[in-house]
């Protein structure tokens, strides 16, 4: 069976050249870069080279990059580290209703610690009203945290404009750019961000490594206390091989970005147009144009996302869903909820996130097998072609899609 991977927003394969570059650091170059002897010296240069590679991709100084273990750690560090460091100054944080749980749940944790958090709403396309953001800023506001791109819809937020607002009011600005870095150009100077988080496994590096950009002069408390690594900003023995992999993945994606983002966008558009023209009663989730080049999120009325994914899986296709049944909770995606997507449509939201390995043949294969799967599940659904109204509780929310 063919294996078609269209879940690159969940994770990407480690690029072969990245893995090659990492392997020596598990073998002969095994040293701890904090050691003074030959074994340590042999690897400390590799960590600093990777720091430069990451810094180049997002246009900052190498000293402004701190390596962390994952995107969630970076977001926790940015938000908790700011909240603790600036507690004297204020206790108000502004974020959005559509952030990744790494941000949302960290903010909820801080609410229990006495901070006040504003969760900005989004419109039906998942976009923010910047006037609302500006109006939410008070003298107590110490942090604005807005993701650069949404993981479910691919929506791109106007980071430069938000950065300008943050600068105007002298409020620190953090962005979770885990889905963005490596896919489209990211320039922390142009965007006026103070803190930016990226993750290795979203751009062809392995899981277990990420980085946070901390603008020079940004006062932060550490999340992980211990040794003096990363200029006391983040303790813990360096994940040398992972860091080397992250550095190379950043360099490669920077070099290829102009070409790959256009090519992947063309594949995504082919998939989108193909689905739209072949299947009635579907809904595009997210902004029609202000989106990452690789992401497509569509709801198929009357059917549930996990059933769709299982059928895809049987045909070798990997995608993901905002359905409750795929998240382990009983609620569908909070992103769909914030966009006021009907609850049944939210359960059927399906995300295709393409990557550098996808081909036109793969897109065409998906377009070939998708319509019969949708039709089969619809014919199995008590909501499809229904004449009588629904009697069960909460079913009144179901509406026909046009």
């Amino acid at each position: 069976m063919k294996h078609i991977y269209m879940d690159n927003n969940a994770t990407t394969a480690v690029r072969p050249e990245v893995l090659e570059a990492m392997l020596p650091f598990y073998r002969e170059q095994f040293g701890n870069p904090s050691s003074v002897h030959w074994a340590g010296r042999a690897v400390s240069g590799a960590v600093e080279k990777a720091r430069e590679q990451v810094a180049t991709l997002i246009n900052c100084a190498p000293a402004e990059i701190v390596f962390v273990s994952c995107g969630s750690e970076g977001d926790n560090m940015a938000i908790k580290g700011t909240a603790e460091a600036l507690r004297e100054k204020g206790n108000h944080i502004i974020t959005t209703a559509v952030e990744h749980p790494a941000v949302l749940n960290t903010c909820e944790y801080l609410e229990k610690q006495g901070f006040r958090v504003t969760y900005l709403p989004v419109d039906k396309d998942g976009m923010l009203d910047l006037k609302e953001l500006e109006a939410a800023i008070t003298a107590e506001t110490i942090l604005i945290s807005v993701m650069w791109a949404n993981n479910e819809t691919g929506n791109l937020y106007p980071i430069e404009e938000i950065g300008a607002i943050a600068r105007k009011y002298k409020v620190r600005f953090h962005t979770d750019a885990v889905q963005t870095v490596g896919k489209i150009p990211v320039d922390v100077q142009k965007a006026n961000v103070d803190l930016l988080v990226l993750s290795g496994h979203k751009l062809g590096a392995p899981k277990g490594v990420g980085a946070i950009y901390i603008r020079r002069g940004t006062r932060m408390n550490a999340l992980i206390h211990g040794g003096h690594q990363e200029r006391n900003r983040r303790a813990g023995t360096y994940n040398v091989a992972g860091i080397v992999g992250l550095g190379l993945a950043c360099e490669l994606s920077g070099a290829e970005m102009a070409e790959s983002s256009v090519r992947i966008a063309a594949l995504r558009d082919r998939l989108q147009e193909g689905i739209m023209s072949a299947i009635p009663e579907i809904k595009l989730n997210g902004h029609p144009t202000m989106r990452l080049p690789n992401t497509l999120n569509i709801s198929f009325a009357y059917i549930e996302g996990e059933s769709l994914l299982l059928n895809f899986d049987m045909k070798g296709i990997a995608a993901s869903s905002g359905s409750a049944c795929t998240s382990g909770s009983l609620e569908p995606s909070h992103v769909m909820g914030a966009m006021c997507v009907d609850v049944v449509l939210a359960h059927s939201s399906t995300r295709f996130s393409l990557g550098r390995d996808n081909t036109e043949e793969e897109v065409d294969y998906v377009l070939e097998i998708l319509p019969p799967i949708v039709q089969r599940l619809r014919e199995m659904s008590p909501l499809y072609n229904r004449k009588e109204p629904l009697s069960c509780e909460e079913c009144q929310v179901i509406r026909k899609v046009h």
């Binding site: 009357y302 059917i303 629904l390 079913c395 929310v397």
Partner: protein
């Protein structure tokens, strides 16, 4: 995460569809958790002769619907009322813990359909 039996019933569901002029129809569900099940019955001499279902829901919801129809066919109405959700899950060699709420619906839908039949009989 699903057993072979669940995947078998999910990919080849038994007794999908509707019964015209069904003797009993039961529907249960909750759109917000993503499951709605509808069961149609044909009854002769208090014995279930035919069962069909339609389900909106995840893999477990479809598999439990399919399994409950297999378990119900040939049973008397009293026997079918004794059929528990746990028995449906067990017949599928178990369900992942997070999915147990789905299996609660299949037997409930069957019971609703039987109640509907009995109400119609007066």
């Amino acid at each position: 995460m699903y057993t072979e039996k669940v995947m078998d019933h999910f990919s080849n569901p038994r007794n999908v569809g509707e019964i015209d002029n069904a003797d009993g129809v039961g529907e249960v569900g909750n759109a917000s958790c993503g499951d709605i099940m509808k069961i149609f019955l044909k009854v002769e001499n208090d014995v279930i002769k035919e069962v069909k279902f339609k389900t909106f829901g995840c893999g477990a919801a479809i598999a439990t619907s399919s399994m409950v129809t297999e378990l119900a066919i040939g049973k008397t109405l009293d026997e079918a009322m004794e059929l528990t959700n746990a028995a449906v899950a067990e017949a599928l060699d178990g369900l992942p813990p997070a999915k147990l709420h789905c299996s609660n619906l299949a037997a409930d839908a069957l019971h609703e359909a039987i109640k509907n039949y009995r109400e119609k009989q007066g």
